[in-house]
Symmetry: C2
Subunit: 549 residues, 2 copies
């Protein structure tokens, strides 16, 4: 075991707050059955795929009288996909609550993600180990992994393991893909006559796993607060030095929740939202123009500095770039050998430009040389462009620079700096909010397991009203489903919750951004605080506040 830092040392002693229904003894929690549910869309297709678990009712928890002695529960837990702050606290909540129900309950951690469940690699989690990980960041207690459990063969191997360990439940802590597969596994187990429950926990810093009953995924709070600390510091530096424009890319391929929240927390000059760019079918040039607008307006006031927030997935939402990337992928697959034989990067760029259809060729020629090279050279094992490696923050600043140089009205000085924040926040120690929320989710999962509920995600809502008023319960996972094309085939999957352009969080940005892009309206949130005034330590995100989560 590692030596602990002083902060980790003190955080070990933090006792997560829980909603009142969960804080009076897990054995006393009563489940109230609510309305039956439907999927978001494609009801018939999804009902057909989930004959046993479709349409189950919403569940809410309330404090009741003791339901009597419980049998010992045997539970397996899996951490799936990218780290999110608070994962260890979900496990701590599970651990404490199953043992509160019965001292002989056992928690098995599957090692290295879903692959550990499939291969039967596990560890019985003991008190000492659990205590060392309470309120800490990371997924290192048992490790995580990206294996997708989706085929019957894989499920059958899982069944072997589940039977071997006589598990009452498997808890899958993951994002939309992992919860999609959790629902499929739940259905599969029932089909095989197994009574083992599968319970999902909504995890992802991206914030795109939510619905009306699941106000946020865990980890979003801590990760965005960490990024906002850094963005605020950079904004203050920019305002002090008065000479740099900082282009800051933020993690989040699919949805721009992180960028939106960070923009609201720091009031950056420009906050780009992929969903808006797609909705308005903006060209790359148009996006560049919108940044130039701020640079010019600020330069006119003597402010040759600023902060631009860029969502990681931006280029994939720009229709012209999306087509260009698709065309490049096809061309390089088709002409692989011919292309590989070209003598230099510059020749490759010129040759490719000649192969492209006129519209894509135009888009391609507008890109800075370094980005053109990235499109050609950095390919994934399937030969495709690695969109995540495209340095969008540099792409934008170079194109802004080029545009400004041609602008006779612009007399400022434009010097960009570039940043990408992602890994800095995914494994941060959870904020009090995430520590509390995750621990509560772990306890809520136990209630579902206790009563044999499968195919549910544990949920805690009413998060903007103080922990004692939080409402715990369960949401049928199929409620979040729709049909989407995967490798050319329609499949039932959880729909990603993108930024709603009609929602209150985007509305807040839209309301203020014309002021923020000119003025120094920066807020400096500072680092996450674990001790001290509640308005700092227990603050929730702007998104959650505005959405009245």
């Amino acid at each position: 075991m590692n030596q602990l830092s002083p902060l980790d040392q003190h955080r070990k002693a933090y006792s997560p707050k829980r909603p009142s229904a969960l804080s009076q003894g897990i054995e006393r929690v009563r489940i109230r059955t609510g309305e039956a549910t439907e999927s978001i869309r494609d009801l018939d297709a999804i009902r057909a795929s989930f004959p046993k678990t479709y349409g189950m009712p919403l569940l809410s928890f309330e404090a009741g009288v003791s339901t009597g002695a419980s049998k010992p529960l045997r539970v397996g837990v899996v951490l799936s996909g990218g780290q999110a702050p608070g994962g260890h606290n979900v496990i701590a909540g599970l651990f404490d609550s199953i043992r509160a129900l019965h001292a002989e309950s056992a928690l098995y951690g599957f090692i290295g993600g879903p692959g550990g469940l499939e291969k039967g690699q596990y560890e019985l989690i003991g008190s000492e180990k659990m205590d060392a990980y309470r309120n800490t960041g990371g997924f290192d207690i048992i490790g995580s992994g990206r294996t997708k459990l989706e085929t019957p063969e894989q499920f059958d191997r899982c069944i072997e393991v589940i039977r071997g360990l006589q598990l009452d439940a498997v808890v899958i802590i993951g994002g939309d893909d992992s919860n999609t597969n959790a629902a499929i596994l739940a259905e599969y187990l029932l089909g095989k006559g197994l009574r083992t429950c599968v319970v999902g926990i909504p995890k992802t810093i991206d914030g795109d796993l939510k619905n009306a009953r699941i106000p946020t995924s865990f980890g979003f709070d801590t990760a965005v607060k960490t990024y906002s600390e850094l963005i605020g510091n950079i904004a203050r530096d920019a305002r002090s030095a008065r000479k740099y424009w900082h282009f800051i890319k933020l993690m989040g391929r699919s949805a721009s929740h992180i960028t939106l929240e960070a923009g609201l927390q720091t009031r950056a000059n420009v906050t780009l939202i992929s969903e808006e760019i797609e909705e308005k079918k903006q060209s790359l040039d148009k996006v560049v123009e919108s940044v130039c607008h701020s640079v010019k307006a600020r330069a006119a006031q003597g402010r040759d500095y600023g902060v631009v927030l860029v969502p990681e997935g931006l280029v994939e939402f720009i229709p012209s770039i999306k087509s260009l990337i698709a065309e490049v992928n096809d061309l390089l697959a088709e002409k692989e050998k011919e292309f590989a034989g070209l003598p230099s990067t510059e020749t490759k760029i010129q040759t490719l430009a000649g192969w492209l259809k006129p519209e894509s060729a135009l888009t391609f020629k507008l890109l800075p040389g370094a980005i053109q090279a990235q499109l050609l050279l950095d390919r994934d094992p399937h030969g495709n462009v690695q969109v995540s490696l495209i340095e969008t923050e540099k792409l934008l600043s170079e194109m802004v620079n080029a545009k400004l140089k041609k602008d006779p009205e612009y007399r400022g000085k434009f010097t960009p700096q570039h940043h990408f924040f992602g890994y800095e926040g995914r494994a941060a120690a959870p904020s009090n909010f995430d520590a509390d929320y995750c621990y509560s989710l772990g306890c809520a999962a136990t209630v579902l397991i206790r009563d044999g509920k499968t195919g549910y995600m544990a949920s805690v809502r009413n998060l903007s009203q103080g922990v004692e008023n939080w409402e715990a319960g369960g949401v049928p996972i199929t409620m979040l489903f729709n049909m989407e094309s995967r490798h050319g085939k329609l499949k039932p999957v959880i729909q990603k919750a993108l930024v709603e352009l009609k929602g209150p969080a985007f509305g807040e940005l839209a309301k203020h951004r014309s002021a923020w892009e000119v003025e120094d309206a920066y807020l400096y949130p500072g680092p996450i605080q674990y001790f001290g005034p509640a308005d700092i330590c227990d603050a929730i995100t702007k998104t959650l506040t505005l959405e009245k989560g």
Copy 2:
């Protein structure tokens, strides 16, 4: 004025702690005169340059009886160079203490750095403005700048301004260059018969402005804690995901104090120290080899992940690269036109390789293509290679990758990620330590001014012993001087305090690094805390602890 974040709101109310000699009323502080001082080296040359201020005694402060009513003090203050957390608190300490001496004292802030003093651009700082900036990061209260005041013509313009405002003192908050020039200005003013004091304040996040009497420069504490928070988070992410090697470059061109301290705070697997590389005359290949050593040892234990800390100035300390850069600068100046006429980057690289002397050509050919291109293309206005733009973190990871590929014993998987942290910490809100230290420095400056001491740096030492035992005083700036070549001419300047390879901080790294490079010995310091347990909130750096600052 900006709206304040909740943290800034609460921090406004923070009352900085002060050493006992300064906390019982500035009018009661008695100055005790210590030993006369000498420069570090080149005593005769420096004595000759500073006939009036050389060899002045050390000063220490103690609580005494009231020295009676003071006259109102008129003080100007300048923020010089890069931001460092706590600058606003130096100004707050000055502001409060000169007004404590006399209610009619006035503090003038020169706008935009030393240039504001030269041009007479200033602002009378009032209570309301001052209050808004207490315990905040950044230098935006009056702005900073990089103008160097060093010529008699500049000094004469400063004298005009000083006379116009009838200043009793000018306080210069800056790094080694700015304090060098503060000492020269002090001498110059005395030579002109002016009684205006010049007082320096040791500022720089780099930590390279210190001596036996000045244990640390302000800002180092907060900046390194901010970087260490991020490095710790990344280490935890690496350990959870088990698939990335993170190469993290840290600000600090000249000295590696930041990297060393961050290495001690987080126990990264590899912490490169420029001073050691120079001392041992290591080649780039040797440095790469030292990283490979850790990668291979960890891969042998199934750990295909890790964290490498790289000081920003690294390449300038590698003798072969240093000569290469010098040669490239000369060649491109000499053959400017011919070079500009070459058709492509690839031709330029090949042609340059042919021009270089054999040894430099060999070094050049070893560099990855992207870095070769950076050497040729990114030139500063004088036509020189912009060393600060060289992406050393990528240079290293690419060379490590190339070396590993040739190594038959290595069977791991090496996937690097890159980060550069600098702007994230320079303008962070000061830690309690920096808030207290800076405020105390501001108060100490007032005592020096009150008693007409010029050519001194305000000092607070004994910093590892709790604030009440801190010892305030003054250090003659010339004590830090030696002669160094500047543009081919020997000049008296403050010697940069580099990492001492025989010092206790480096010793601590040297003692543990063979373990840390293999094991997961990471510590996760977490974000700076302003409230809560003193062992977290008031913690000092490892460097200061080990050096018994």
